[in-house]
């Protein structure tokens, strides 16, 4: 199994798996949730919590897209502190999680989308079981190289909008190498020498066209839900 903060196989089945979705404004978090909800809603009992800074815009977009029924999409306003609401003080999101669990006791998955934030944002393990971080190529080739908790330590890194790479002068091979370097994990073997290198998963996507979505779903099902499916492909393959 890959190195993730995922639930263990012993976790009672009635508890939903909670997956955080973070990343900068406009990187594609809501687009990702829209496509994941459409793809997974027939197989799993789903709900979504959106954290908006100013409005309930993400909740409105998902509702309008009919990604899920409106009562399964909850918006949380975060007082201008999107990172606080998912990291230091998650109580407002915990409220939303409990309300959803109370209303839908059979939930399998809850996605918690952060408000658009910067590279320093991360999710509290008290709030989510695993989290993914969405970057987009239009932010520049250099972004994976800059590191930060999302790039380095998220359970899955998604580099979205790969179709825009030629337009912004980004070389995906460079981004692949930088992401690989940032997400390399050297496990100690118990002796003094380091164990084999592992790479935390990262996936290139073009969510508008559906490229890479299959691998994101494979990450959820293989790495988090322990389903007998093929693992996701990592980086450029």
């Amino acid at each position: 199994m890959r190195q993730t903060g995922a639930m263990s196989p012993e976790t009672p089945s009635h508890l939903p798996l909670k997956i955080g979705v973070g990343g900068p404004v406009g990187s594609g978090k809501t687009a990702l949730l829209e496509v994941l909800c459409r793809e997974l809603r027939g197989r799993y009992d789903l709900a979504v919590i959106t954290n908006d800074i100013y409005t309930f815009e993400d909740q409105r977009i998902l509702t309008a897209a009919a990604a899920l029924s409106p009562e399964r999409i909850r918006g949380v306003q975060t007082g201008g502190c999107p990172h606080t609401a998912i990291r230091e003080d998650t109580s407002l999101n915990q409220e939303a999680v409990e309300a959803l669990q109370s209303e839908f006791p059979g939930l399998d998955l809850i996605f918690i989308e952060s408000g658009g934030d910067n590279l320093a944002s991360s999710f509290s393990p008290e709030l989510v079981d695993a989290w993914l971080f969405v970057l987009d190529v239009s932010g520049g080739e250099k972004v994976p190289r800059k590191g930060g908790p999302g790039v380095r330590y998220s359970d899955l890194l998604i580099i979205n909008k790969i179709d825009l790479a030629p337009n912004v002068g980004a070389d995906l091979r460079v981004m692949d190498a930088d992401a690989r370097a940032q997400r390399s994990v050297l496990h100690q073997s118990g002796r003094s020498e380091p164990g084999p290198e592992q790479i935390r998963p990262f996936i290139f996507t073009d969510l508008k066209r559906g490229l890479g979505v299959r691998d994101v779903i494979a990450w959820i099902e293989h790495d988090l839900l322990f389903k007998p499916v093929a693992p996701p492909r990592i980086g450029l393959v």
Binding site: I53, G80, D89, S91
Partner: protein, 214 residues
């Protein structure tokens, strides 16, 4: 001062209180609070006529142990006194979050904590169980509210951190009066009359673009 009280009153304590502005957002959007002097006036008004006349005395009374004899009296009174739905629900939500976090951190000390719902009685009852004095409890509670509002102001206004803290300092006399009033208060003293602040809080959900939940 009791170290646990400082922890309980700190803005980092996970109660969700950072997402509420108590009507300040509406007033800044309307342009009625634009300067540090106007922020000070808002703070003094809330302390003398609004929040300070309900929540501070409720916190002080909860500390005395009156909840053991009349468990729901303060909460029921706050239900009635908080006329606007947003602040009323915010008080209940932050109270529930504070209670849950405190019980998680100090399960033994709080094993006999009486039932509470609103933020103020919860804070007072928890602080008493943690061994804080009544005066320290109310002082910490009022300070926490005051600094939370000026932190919100830096996000809502063209106002630097130092100017915001200066506004809090200048509201210090009003805060001290509020604390002294709360420490002398009986249940029948809970009240307050701040219709313009209530209207501002009531109008907040209708703003086009909002940073805070109230």
């Amino acid at each position: 001062m009791n170290l646990r009280l400082l922890q309980l009153a700190d803005s980092a304590f996970p109660s969700g209180a950072y997402a509420f502005s108590d009507g300040l957002e509406t007033l800044t959007v309307r342009g009625e609070v634009r300067t540090a002097a106007e922020l000070k006036a808002f703070l003094c008004g809330q302390l003398a006529h609004g929040w300070g006349q309900q929540d501070a005395p409720a916190c002080a009374l909860a500390w005395t142990g009156m909840l053991r004899a009349a468990p729901d009296e303060l909460d029921a009174l706050l239900d009635d006194l908080k006329l606007v739905r947003g602040p009323r629900e915010a008080s209940l939500r932050v109270g529930a979050n504070l209670r849950r976090a405190a019980l998680s951190l100090w399960p033994e000390e709080l094993s006999t904590l009486p039932p509470t719902r609103h933020h103020a009685p919860t804070f007072g009852a928890v602080a008493a169980a943690l061994g804080a004095s009544q005066a320290d409890t109310v002082t910490a509670y009022v300070s926490s509210w005051l600094l939370g509002r000026v932190a919100a102001a830096t996000k809502l206004m063209k106002l630097g951190g130092l100017d915001a803290q200066r506004a809090a300092r200048q509201a210090g006399d009003a805060a001290q009066d509020c604390i002294q009033h709360a420490l002398r208060a009986t249940v029948s003293d809970l009240g307050g009359f701040s219709p313009l602040l209530d209207i501002a809080a009531a109008e907040q959900p209708g703003l086009d673009s909002r940073l805070f939940q109230t």
